[in-house]
């Protein structure tokens, strides 16, 4: 927990401010700051939702559309049903790209009431298509400002995670220190060590390209030309990179584009068990991905949808996120499981880009990238 706090300062500062803010706010969330065990908090938070449920009095079903990576512990959604009497029907709709594309095709006649899992790289496309109805959840007061990308609240941030360069610790030492920056990767000392994903076919691949654009501005093209000359290998997807080319899967490249949460996964899902992760994260290379939920335009269950969005920001749901989806809850006060935070290094100052910028340029960028790196 301590180690986590020390690297968590990016949002940690806001978290500290929020402690003050929410305790003045006087809603159920304020107690979460002082309570460390989950039990009483859960009931209190749900009581708040329950209270608003009785005023709006929605009943029946609410359908939550998610990507395939969505999962929560058994009983988490049942807690919502218990508090509100509304049952949540989950529908999984492929990866994020598939989910957003099919939602855009069915805009106005949505497959569900709430969508969860759209990230900042796809956000603007969905906003341009008028996919969502605005809703400002009161629970947003517990969420750091820099995670709230849409001022008109058509979407609500739920979790975030970083795409970062990972390295295999044992392959670095006295002869060659582990890389610490994007610059290092283009250094001939690190020739033929890096594997990345194609930004045209892979979400982390796109995030890494965006990180380089955020870092170098117009100079990103030169940077990638340097990476190419330095022997970068490009794969179509994350699986091929991590399990095919990276040391962890039996390949011989010790540097890979993956997630900030990959080291804890290397421990939690290790076989045989290990005490510390075999991989580390280069925090200077991270691009922040924020995942949002939004109420789908045309829903017949607006009131229930609002309650569900509130619930996604409740400690019950937020604290369940890390070990199921390997990303961070946006609620600054959410308790994080030790197995997760012990091995996570979160960048103080991750790379970010405006979603509108991303949408306006991504096709040009990825086309230029293809010309520079692959041709």
């Amino acid at each position: 927990m301590l180690r986590f706090r020390s690297v968590y300062s990016g949002v940690g500062l806001t978290a500290a401010l929020l402690v003050g803010a929410t305790s003045c706010g006087g809603d159920g969330a304020s107690t979460t700051v002082s309570t460390s065990s989950g039990g009483p908090v859960v009931t209190e938070e749900l009581a708040a939702i329950e209270a608003s449920a009785t005023t709006a009095a929605p009943t029946g079903l609410v359908t939550l559309i998610t990507h395939d990576s969505f999962w929560v512990s058994e009983g988490t959604l049942a807690a919502f049903t218990e508090a509100t009497g509304i049952e949540v029907v989950l529908q999984m709709a492929g990866d994020t790209g598939q989910m957003v594309s099919s939602a855009i095709l069915t805009v106005g006649d949505p497959l569900g009431d709430v969508m969860f899992g759209i990230d900042n790289t796809f956000l603007q496309r969905a906003l341009d298509a008028d996919l969502f109805e605005a809703y400002e959840s009161s629970a947003l007061s517990g969420v750091p400002d820099e995670l709230q990308l849409d001022a008109s609240h058509r979407v609500t941030p739920v979790d975030f995670g970083d795409v970062c360069v990972n390295y295999w610790i044992d392959r670095f030492g006295d002869d060659l220190a582990a890389p610490t920056s994007l610059d290092d990767l283009a250094d001939p000392a690190y020739a033929d060590l890096l594997v990345v994903q194609n930004p045209e076919t892979s979400s982390p691949g796109l995030a890494f390209l965006l990180a380089t654009i955020a870092e170098y501005g117009d100079g990103w093209e030169d940077y990638w030309a340097a990476l190419r000359d330095n022997g970068v290998v490009v794969t179509a997807g994350w699986e091929d990179a991590y399990y095919g080319e990276f040391v962890s899967g039996g390949g011989d490249r010790p540097i890979v584009v993956s997630y900030a949460s990959s080291p804890p996964a290397e421990v939690i899902y290790a076989d045989p068990p290990v005490d510390t992760p075999p991989t580390g994260v280069v925090t200077g290379t991270c691009f922040r991905q924020i995942e949002f939920a939004g109420i789908l335009a045309g829903t017949d269950h607006r009131a229930a949808a609002e309650l569900l969005v509130d619930f996604l920001l409740s400690p019950t749901f937020q604290e369940d996120i890390p070990l199921n989806m390997f990303v961070f809850p946006v609620l600054a006060t959410a308790e994080l499981p030790p197995t997760f935070v012990d091995f996570v290094e979160l960048a103080d100052d991750p790379h970010v880009l405006d979603p509108a910028d991303i949408e306006a340029h991504r096709n040009d960028w990825s086309e230029r990238w293809t010309e520079i790196v692959l041709r």
Binding site: S73, Q91, D95, G97, N198, A265, E266, D271, V274
Partner: protein, 540 residues
């Protein structure tokens, strides 16, 4: 009626809807511009040549095996037959990984014989996936051919090669054409293999449709490409259908002598070939499912220091749900099996009826069926998946959130298999046999029941086995359809397991792949066991 309605509602209408929508959204202009783009021309050319090359290679590799299965008797014949179907159900990401590891170990990852990230790797994987199609469809038909014609030719002094060239090949041809058309369509619309094994510079029409529709959100360009793809598929099917119709040689129900025992050399040669093509990649998967990660999480790189020891833990873990999955891996497998049963049942009914129409229906209707039923095999998963979403949204066709849409989508792909195996068999039934029955007073229905059905039963069962396997392994279209989490299928579970680092997850994914293979082999054995109770005998 039933097949036409099935195809119309679940394929033509959805695909038509999405194409109309896309073309309306500027897709028509994109379509006109396409031929002028060099990037499009190179993608189209690569799509075509890799599909042709893959098909030819697959036929060459599989024909000796088909002969062995059809004409020789040996221990473990049914087992080999079922085992050959296994690659079909393996998700491409798993097979891709296995091939890459294999290239590494065989020294083909670098140097002059490099296969990693080449078109050669794509061809190798296509052969792996599709050998079964030729082996089984051609083998089944071959078995039904009267062996006496070849025996007579041999008695008259023809060499084995001559006998094959002048007696067997002309009769076998329709089945080879049928199998090739399926293999071609599979390779023409190949997706995962191209992405994983071809390297980042290689693209097919299928991967380009996906990239534009899903990643770029450019429906217009995606539609233009999908139209080109579909047009090519229609043209291809028209041509091969014509080839298949050219001549089918009469087939009689003969009470055959048991085929001769396979010579040791023939058997060894065949098994060695299939062992390399099918066995090695599967072997890598099995090995991975039985080993731990590098000891203590350290080491890596060289095979030697990665050794973590043998274990059965990954199999034990299949019964427990991991955090990433809504159900346990075994639960996902159970879902897949249920879907596969439904899909295979649908495919047999629809495909069987359609086959009868193709063989005995009016000419125009027959040709339309022969063409239409093949199309789902050549349409991209994106087109079908998105089409279903926008078309099947209103009563009476409000199916888009139905749990049964998944097996229906699978059955669409299974139907062509059933037809490609049943049609040549039905065509081959000796007209005189049917005429004799009719002369003896049998009604048309009775002829169908007493003559056509028993002869076709074997072919139907092979088709059912394939549909079953196709459904078990299908990933593309499934991933586009909205699903309840507890309906997770085995291939989707596999992808989830491989989406996070950690050797426990990876080992479990490999164990799931192996169990999926075993379930497939067993199911195919059982399904075809039923079919064999028909009159066509001759094996043990």
């Amino acid at each position: 009626m039933v097949p036409a309605a099935f195809l119309g509602v679940f394929f033509l209408y959805p695909v038509g809807s999405i194409l109309v929508r896309g073309l309306g959204a500027d897709g028509l202009n994109r379509l006109v511009e396409l031929p002028g783009r060099s990037s499009f021309r190179s993608v189209a050319w690569f799509t075509l040549w890799q599909a042709v090359a893959s098909t030819v290679l697959t036929v060459v590799v599989a024909l000796p095996g088909a002969h062995l299965l059809a004409r020789r008797r040996f221990r473990g014949r049914s087992l080999l037959r079922a085992a050959a179907t296994v690659p079909f159900v393996l998700p491409t990401v798993v097979v891709g990984g296995a091939f890459l590891a294999l290239f590494e170990r065989l020294g083909l990852a670098d140097g002059p014989l490099r296969l990693t990230r080449t078109a050669g790797a794509i061809l190798a994987a296509h052969v792996f996936f599709n050998v079964a199609v030729v082996l089984r469809t051609v083998g089944t038909f071959w078995e039904g051919l009267d062996p006496r014609a070849v025996e007579q030719a041999r008695v008259l002094g023809a060499s084995p090669v001559q006998a094959f060239r002048w007696v067997t090949w002309p009769r076998l041809w329709p089945a080879v054409a049928a199998a090739s058309s399926i293999v071609f369509l599979f390779c023409f619309t190949s997706f995962g293999v191209v992405l994983v094994l071809g390297g980042p510079t290689r693209a097919t029409l299928e991967t380009e449709v996906w990239r534009h529709a899903v990643f770029r959100g450019d429906l217009a360009s995606a539609t233009a490409l999908a139209v080109v793809q579909l047009a090519a598929v229609v043209a291809m099917v028209v041509v091969t259908n014509r080839l298949q119709r050219r001549r089918a040689v009469a087939q009689r129900v003969v009470r055959r002598m048991p085929p001769p025992r396979a010579s040791r050399r023939l058997l060894a040669g065949n098994l060695a070939l299939l062992g390399v093509v099918l066995g090695l990649p599967i072997g890598v998967l099995v090995e991975r499912s039985l080993t731990r990660g590098p000891a203590g999480g350290r080491g890596g790189g060289q095979w030697g220091d990665r050794w973590g020891g043998w274990t059965l833990d990954h199999y034990g873990a299949l019964a427990d749900r991991v955090n990433l999955l809504p159900v346990s891996a075994l639960g996902a497998l159970r879902n897949s099996l249920v879907f596969a049963v439904v899909a295979a049942g649908l495919a047999v009914v629809v495909g069987g009826l359609a086959s009868v129409v193709v063989v005995h229906g009016r000419r125009a209707v027959a040709r339309a069926f022969d063409l239409g039923m093949m199309l789902p095999l050549g349409a991209s998963a994106v087109t079908v998946g998105f089409g279903m979403l926008i078309a099947l949204d209103e009563p009476p066709l409000d199916f888009r959130s139905s749990r049964w849409l998944v097996p229906v989508a699978h059955a669409l792909i299974g139907v062509p298999f059933v037809m490609r195996i049943v049609v040549p068999t039905l065509r081959g039934i000796d007209v005189r046999l049917r005429e004799a029955a009719a002369t003896l007073g049998a009604t048309p229905a009775r002829v169908r029941r007493e003559i056509d059905l028993p002869i076709a039963a074997r072919a139907l069962s092979v088709g059912a086995g394939f549909s079953f396997a196709v459904s078990l392994g299908e990933f593309g279209a499934t991933s586009f359809l909205p699903r309840h989490p507890d309906q997770l299928t085995a291939p989707l579970a596999l992808f989830r397991l491989l989406s996070q680092p950690g050797h426990a997850l990876r080992g479990q994914a490999m164990a799931l792949a192996v169990v999926l293979m075993l379930a497939t082999a067993l199911s195919v054995l059982v399904i075809e066991g039923w079919g064999r109770r028909g009159t066509v005998r001759g094996d043990l």
